[in-house]
Symmetry: C2
Subunit: 698 residues, 2 copies
């Protein structure tokens, strides 16, 4: 494949299927291109000599060399048209034509052929079913939309062409500019990951934004985005978040929506900032494209009005940021500079008669405070306050201190001119204090993304061969479910399990119990019986003399409950002190897009009723494993709340990592549940295990 | 007090302190009034003959009768000025002048005098420290702000004058109109409750909105607002929600902020819809002022673009509404009317080439579906879609079916003209699908407010006299804390308590234990010892023969722990089967603004760690008591989750109501905790009690 960057810096763009016909897409694209494109526009159409005044060529071979070919011929002609431009040397193709996989089996066949020709010639192909692409650097608008993007530093991809049309119309009015714009269409060849990678290397792209309905290869996306977000923020609207939305998305794109929980975890791990609406998308992007990240979370609020100051303070309280605690020096300086009635504590209320000079002084003193990481200037319109002058002062102070500053100059018309001046210097003005805070919050979140230490997953020394043998039992047994009889799988990966053994006769049971100190727990072992306790298949506190009878009893009960159940034996296990321990659950299921999704929670009601769980896409390192444990609401219970001895959280964290390694090592494990993993003051022990194995994969 | 409505329909407005002086507030107000006021403007100032071309009078006595007097004289002259206009017959006064309670003790004295003169003459007084008032019906702008409100049906009060200035400037640009506008100032005489009451009776006010930093008498506000919201929606921004915000509000207004939890409960019980930002305030108000409430929660989405359709569906999923499930008939009709590629399931995607006619058909078919309560029209700009015509069609269909419809015509400039047409017919157009859904959601929430059955608190037959005696023990004992020794207080209010007695010698303990079936629980009773278990002051499962020794033991341990502790005896209590029960907590503390705030939760970690509690302002009826129990996250545990027998939820609900009655009957009870209230399958029992009593109140 040629370098993708060439798609955005062509010297010639060919329109394959160009036409003069009113209302035709081939006309609209040619017209849009002709408007501002710095290079040459090459119409191709065998039945015309000229299109919109440009010389038209019968085919790609006879045309001048084409860097980017935009294909608008009817669906059945698309694949041949691509082959033709490829033969003539073109490496970048944008397929506008619809009527592919989104329309049924005939279209799906066409799309497969399209992929094949792309692979054969090693082409970059956007679409099919795309609105087109724009590159403002070279003035290229190769779309059939009604608007061209203004030049700027935001690069924008969208799985919905209409979303681009709607956004551009509004963005142009707001003065928001773009670097590159791509309508992804059916993502037959190039997808979101390709553009994220490309824009991550583009020095002219400050922020990548996107509207996506699905991510095809979540795993790869996370890997690429994680690297890109070290230097370039990514903000995404991923729709289909809710059940109804997912259904709508899948009927829109024909793709499987995937689990929202996996997207949430995957995008977070990738360092992507997620927006839930168009408004959030641009509120974040405007801050991220023009401002540095704050060095600390302390926010200073400077206002001329008490009410809006309080509202802003509330919004700061709702965010991940906090109101900066001014130093005594700051307070003294403010007290000297401000009138007596002013409030010199944060939020600074310079009161209603504050002019630009007083505002400027307050902003300067606030920004020089070491506790202040960022500032918001909030103002109500007054007779003495000139918004355009205020804008200049805010720009000056922002640059002097190199801390992020956003504004909320309230009011209608009178804020417009000031807004434009501010925008030019990268300072977003927001309608509402809460949105201004959201802008700063996005900066702080991106700072955290950049500073995160993505620790490489630790490779524990495990007995992988033994584990393989155990997993393969599923194939031997011709049953894809493994249970407590496979606990040695955990042992092979260094996860502690209680002393004990699975036995298949009562004498052996007695022998095992004799080798264990104290009473034992006995459980029926059968892949066919899931609620062992309910059928009397579990006995606790069995003394050595009762072991023989207990064996007979649990087996009898199991047979009685389900005569044809496969009974693998009876587990005789050391009895743990559960009083001083907390039951936790570590689980995994494999997401079609993102792969192994780990889940952690406390046992019983915490997972089942309170749904208090955390998830991550495996593999994960220690930092993320620890975050999984810390972020559940009930985490204080593990740390020793209510006078209990704290559990060995390090051991829990290590177990999560070891399971992460296990499920990464064995893609054949489809689902896994260690439930419970008992966490006590002196470590953890896995008490029960269930897994489902894809026997085809073995 | 004269009728408050007269404040908004004066024939004459006097400006006491009117002046020509540039930059003076007395000039700005006179100028604003002269602009559009339908009646007569009467400047009063002894040192001028004429102000802005109007005849000026030396005092109120010599002036024509003044319906509303706007006072702008210096602070020390305000009270005398009010007396003078009152003597001359004026009943409505707006005090613009600042320098009252917000500025220290001298100001506070002046404000007291102001209140006295208002009471003496039975005056309606707005302010002091107010921006003024507006009544668009009579063209009155009696403020010194730079903008006049456009005429409309929203009445607006604000505790921040700057908030009004900021909002009006923007609202005028957006074409949003108001009926009355009041800057509340220091709320010395008239407060939020007065205006809510007044606007509730005003046929020209469709929605009441407000910005408040505190509510002075929460109790009264709830009572009045509850009645008003039966007919007129109220939307409020109550700032100071967060700790930092509350601190900022209290430094802004000098008022105690009060507990956010109490505001949340009180406003909810009053039927107030709460907004957290200026944007939300108007997003809600715009829908509420022009549209009917939906009869059902099913939303139909009609769009010409898949992506925005999915986004809208997500937003519906996030709201209290749901996507309507179309009838087969609707699907058939849509299939017939739409092109083949269209999606005829909800969201309806009429696809990119949809013109106004096709949109209109889709909207009509959707609105005629009985499952559809409301609709959202979402569109991306296209060449074939004329937004102004689409607006007309949407208006027509909305009126034909009388169901609420909102729009999200995406794009910038091209949406403006359509927006104006829609607005005229009460249909708000929103920038973003999520905001459009929020508008519909506000309508549905208001429908629920109107339909709620605020059941009057049931008056249980209780032994109030006996309760009084028990509460008064606190005074006798000279200790405002009562504990388990006062459990008969609960009994007096019909709340079951276990068999038992508090005894003060071991023989009596033995006798009591003998009269109770089975083993007993014994607990030290002392107001000085709160963690009885920790010091060995509790013994469970005591058999009859051990009672004597157990008595001596717990007393000895208590003495040993704290030699000077007051020991009231030892409680000998029936032992309950806690295995089959769930521990709950019912508590109350008295909020300075709203009065008794009831709290419900499950015991132990649920309240302490998970903070899973519900609150209401007492008194409450059965419906709200039941909602308190139902809305905690752990509620399924009470209803018999995980194979347990369900607890007697009715008994829990009744206990909450009885406690509501108790704390309402006895304002002297400052705090109360029934912890635990054990709920089992056959009812509840209160096991322990603590209360704090205001002995002054007794």
């Amino acid at each position: 494949m040629g370098r993708l960057s060439e798609l955005f810096e062509p010297e010639t763009v060919g329109v394959i299927g160009a036409t003069d016909r009113e209302g035709a897409v081939g006309r609209a694209i040619t017209a849009n291109l002709r408007e501002e494109f710095a290079g040459e526009v090459v119409p191709v159409n065998p039945s015309r000599d000229e299109v919109l005044g440009l010389e038209c060529y019968p085919d790609a071979t006879s045309a001048p060399p084409i860097d980017v070919a935009v294909v608008v011929v009817p669906p059945p002609a698309v694949v041949e048209a691509i082959r033709e431009v490829a033969e003539a040397g073109t490496e970048n193709v944008v397929v506008i034509t619809a009527g592919f996989s989104e329309t049924g089996s005939e279209g799906a066949t066409r799309e497969r052929q399209l992929r094949e020709v792309a692979a054969e010639y090693d082409l970059n192909v956007v679409g099919p079913n795309s609105l087109g692409v724009m590159a403002t650097d070279v003035g290229m608008n190769a779309t059939f939309g009604p608007e061209s993007a203004r030049r700027g530093s935001i690069s924008f991809m969208s799985q919905s062409g209409a979303f681009i049309t709607a956004v551009l119309d509004w963005a142009n009015e707001q003065g928001i500019g773009f670097q590159d714009v791509v309508s992804l269409g059916n993502k037959s060849v190039l997808d979101e990951t390709d553009f994220v990678r490309e824009w991550g290397e583009d020095p002219d792209t400050d922020v990548v934004i996107g509207y996506l309905e699905g991510i095809d290869d979540g795993d790869e996306f996370v890997e690429v985005a994680r690297e890109v977000t070290d230097e370039t923020p990514i903000v995404l609207v991923k729709s289909g978040r809710t059940d109804a939305g997912a259904q709508a998305a899948s009927s829109h794109t024909g793709a499987i929506a995937g689990s929202e929980r996996a997207y949430e975890a995957g995008l977070e791990q990738a360092g992507v900032i997620r927006a839930n609406s168009v408004q959030e998308l641009f509120d974040y992007a405007r801050a991220l494209s023009g401002l540095p990240q704050p060095e600390s979370d302390g926010v200073a609020v400077v206002t001329n009005a008490g009410g809006p100051g309080v509202l802003t303070t509330d919004a700061v309280g709702d965010s991940s940021l906090g109101m900066a605690d001014f130093t005594d020096e700051t307070i003294d300086q403010l007290a000297e500079a401000m009138p007596e009635e002013a409030n010199v504590y944060n939020p600074i209320d310079a009161i209603g008669d504050a002019d630009v000079d007083r505002f400027g002084e307050a902003v300067e003193i606030a920004l020089s405070d070491p506790h202040v990481g960022s500032a918001i200037v909030v103002s109500a319109p007054t007779a003495v306050l000139k918004y355009d002058k205020l804008a200049e002062t805010v720009i000056e102070k922002r640059e002097e201190f190199d801390k992020p500053v956003v504004t909320c100059l309230m009011g209608g018309d009178r804020a417009r001119a000031a807004e434009e001046v501010l925008r030019e210097f990268g300072i977003p003005n927001y309608f509402d204090p809460s949105r201004a805070v959201a802008g700063l919050d996005a900066l702080a979140r991106y700072r955290d993304v950049r500073e995160r230490s993505v620790d490489d997953p630790e490779r524990f020394d495990v007995d992988r061969e033994r584990a393989r043998e155990i997993v393969e039992r599923a194939k031997e047994r011709d049953d894809n479910r493994l249970g407590v009889e496979s606990m040695d799988l955990l042992e092979a990966y260094g996860i502690p399990i209680p002393d004990g053994e699975i036995v298949d006769d009562p004498d052996r049971a007695r022998a095992v119990a004799g080798s264990i100190e104290g009473d034992v727990v006995m459980k029926i072992v059968s892949p066919d019986i899931s609620h062992k306790s309910d059928i009397g298949g579990v006995r606790v506190g069995v003394s050595d003399e009762d072991v023989y009878d207990a064996y007979e009893d649990v087996v009898a009960r199991a047979r009685n409950y389900q005569p044809d159940a496969t009974i693998l034996g009876v587990q005789v296990q050391e009895m743990l002190d559960l009083e001083a321990s907390t039951e936790t659950i570590v689980g995994m299921n494999r997401d079609p897009q993102f792969g192994p999704l780990l889940l952690f929670g406390l046992g019983g009601i915490f997972v089942e009723i309170l749904e208090d769980t955390s998830v991550r896409v495996a593999p994960i390192g220690e930092g993320e494993a620890r975050a999984m444990v810390d972020e559940i609401r009930a985490a204080p219970l593990l740390r020793g709340a209510r006078g209990r001895e704290p559990a060995d959280v390090d051991a829990v964290v290590e177990t999560v990592q070891r399971l992460s390694q296990l499920v990464t090592d064995f893609p054949a494990i489809l689902e896994l549940d260690v439930n419970p993993l008992v966490a006590g003051p002196d470590g953890v022990q896995a008490i029960d295990l269930r897994l489902t194995v894809d026997t085809e994969e073995l």
